[in-house]
């Protein structure tokens, strides 16, 4: 029985008086696709950002591949080479082309030679279906295209774990599909993904585990069939019920 790839151990985080994460403990293995759901303000994004230390935890510990990454002497930059992130607001480098966005990390962080980086960059752009947009600037791309470049950028670093922070929330409805399709493909290829999202379709079909976070606590988690059809906790039932009504009305 090998170590889980990612382990959160009793993590606490507060912003001033507001307790955002309350004793969160969580594990995932290589190849897992975990989707975190929950009401807004439940701490989902914060939890994700703690994993790559964009946000620092107050207490507890986080382990990647058996090593504690929340130690004071962990090299944060090394950590971030192994954990990639896709942002809600895309955050593409506005002054670089799509190819430039994908290769910047390869050249400056992994120290790859320019032509080798370009090769790899094209590969990943093709993986997300944007090879023909390699020379376009972010301002020239649609929202869905921007997000796919963001995914390619994160993939190019060959991370062990890919974090998705509400990747489709900032997109117009008709553009969501192209991004979710890419995410499905990645899941099928065996990429380890931790996703915060409202996209229930994706969660149902591609996730290995659904985690329900509410008020900073993991209320319950389980495989999609179990959680969606037979939630154990009342709060989960309530939340899912609300979602269903919205879905029917909307």
């Amino acid at each position: 029985m090998s170590d889980p790839l990612l382990r959160l151990d009793d993590v606490y985080k507060s912003y001033g008086d507001e307790r955002v994460l309350s004793g969160v403990s969580f594990e995932m293995d290589t190849g897992d696709v975990d989707v975190v759901i929950g009401p807004s303000g439940s701490g989902k994004s914060t939890m994700l950002r703690c994993v790559n230390r964009l946000t620092e935890i107050d207490s507890g510990a986080i382990y990647l591949d058996g090593e504690c990454v929340t130690d004071a002497d962990t090299d944060v930059n090394e950590l971030r080479k192994q954990v990639g992130m896709v942002f809600q607001d895309f955050n593409l480098f506005a002054h670089l082309t799509a190819l430039g966005n994908v290769t910047l990390g390869l050249r400056k962080v992994r120290g790859m030679e320019k032509s080798a980086a370009r090769e790899k960059g094209y590969e990943h752009l093709e993986q997300v279906g944007l090879l023909d947009q390699a020379d376009s600037y972010p301002a020239e791309l649609s929202g869905g295209q921007k997000q796919r470049v963001g995914i390619a950028q994160a993939l190019a670093m060959d991370p062990e774990l890919l974090l998705f922070d509400e990747p489709t929330s900032a997109l117009d409805p008709e553009l969501v599909g192209e991004v979710v399709d890419v995410m499905r493909d990645l899941a099928a290829e065996g990429i380890t993904m931790l996703v915060v999202s409202h996209e229930m379709g994706f969660a149902r079909s591609a996730a290995s585990d659904i985690v329900f976070l509410d008020g900073g606590e993991i209320v319950e988690h389980g495989p999609p069939e179990q959680l969606f059809e037979n939630p154990r906790a009342d709060r989960t039932r309530e939340f899912l019920g609300r979602l269903r009504t919205e879905h029917e009305e909307g």
Partner: protein, 330 residues
């Protein structure tokens, strides 16, 4: 490797552009110093101009020099006794000695500050009166009006203020005309050179102010004027009651910029013999050779004026702020 502090500072959404307030103008010590500065000025001006020097003779400072000189020499003595450890005391002695040497010049410099304040206030107030119609002409005028306004603005912003002063003073009969006017140069009314400077500053400042106001007017969404007209207001009324009130608030940062500029550039009036702060410092320095004391003192006084202006404009901005409108409300 060292743990990095949080990259972003706010709560759950985790995204905020970090805005650092510049520390100096926010500190209470600054406000206190500025208050002391103005208290001294007002007392000195009242004494000199209204009370005919009854509190203290004109030219004599309120503050006694002797005790401060004594303090300086004492500190020097202490420093000498302490040898190498006396270095901070020596430095302090130098500072105190500087203060002692500068005190006698304060009254005359205060007269200079009066002229500076007058020049600035006149320049900016008259400039504003011209700037508002000028900027309206540039935003809402027909092509001829717009070009004329643009020409004026480009001309005055594209040439140095000093050159403009020279043109008005040496190259036009303006100073002669002013000299002929009654009351110029008598009693409280300053001499003709002062008024020529006021004209120059007015014309120059009008050009810069109109630029700030113009871009502020442009920031007001077009829909505002449309909405005004659709309830029956005429174009002029719409501009006056809807666009201007919003636009002028957006203009505050640029306008306070202009105020600070005018305070500093009023020093150029010294080139046409106006006895404002710089000229006073220069005149005394040439007589007494106390260049360091006088020009550093002048610099400090200008700084005090500039900081006062910033504090004033901050207060104005807070006073007229409307939630959601302008920089403070965003």
């Amino acid at each position: 490797m060292g743990a990095e502090t949080q990259e972003s500072a706010s709560a759950a959404d985790g995204r905020s552009v970090r805005a650092r307030a510049t520390g100096l103008t926010d500190q209470p010590l600054t406000a206190f110093a500025v208050a002391v500065f103005w208290a001294w000025l007002v007392v000195r001006w009242t004494n000199d101009f209204l009370l005919g020097g009854s509190l203290a003779p004109r030219g004599t400072s309120f503050f006694p020099t002797a005790p401060i000189e004594f303090a300086a020499t004492t500190l020097s003595g202490v420093a000498a006794d302490l040898g190498v450890f006396g270095l901070p005391f020596q430095w302090l002695a130098g500072l105190v000695g500087f203060v002692a040497a500068s005190i006698p010049y304060l009254p005359e410099l205060a007269t200079g500050v009066w002229a500076t304040v007058l020049l600035t206030v006149a320049g900016i107030a008259f400039g504003f009166v011209i700037a508002v119609p000028l900027s309206i002409a540039r935003v809402y005028g027909g092509s001829v009006t717009r070009s004329l306004a643009l020409g004026y603005t480009e001309l005055f912003r594209g040439t140095p203020l000093l050159a403009q002063l020279f043109v008005l003073y040496f190259a036009t009969p303006l100073s002669i005309y002013i000299r002929e006017l009654p009351a110029v140069g008598t009693g409280f009314v300053p001499a003709q050179a002062f008024w020529v400077a006021v004209v120059a500053f007015t014309l120059n400042s009008a050009a810069y102010q109109s630029e700030y106001i113009r871009s502020a007017l442009n920031s007001v969404p077009e829909g505002q004027l449309t909405a005004a007209r659709s309830i029956g207001l005429s174009k002029v009324e719409g501009i006056r009651y809807v666009v201007l009130p919003q636009g002028l608030r957006y203009a505050i940062p640029g306008w306070s910029n202009e105020l600070v500029y005018l305070i500093k550039y009023s020093s150029l009036a010294s080139f046409i013999t106006v006895r404002e702060l710089f000229e006073q410092a220069d005149a005394i320095a040439s007589e007494t050779y106390r260049y360091t004391e006088l020009f550093v003192l002048a610099g400090l006084l200008y700084l005090a004026l500039v900081v006062s202006a910033s504090l004033l404009m901050d207060a104005v901005e807070r006073y007229v702020a409307i939630p959601g409108l302008g920089a403070s409300g965003r």
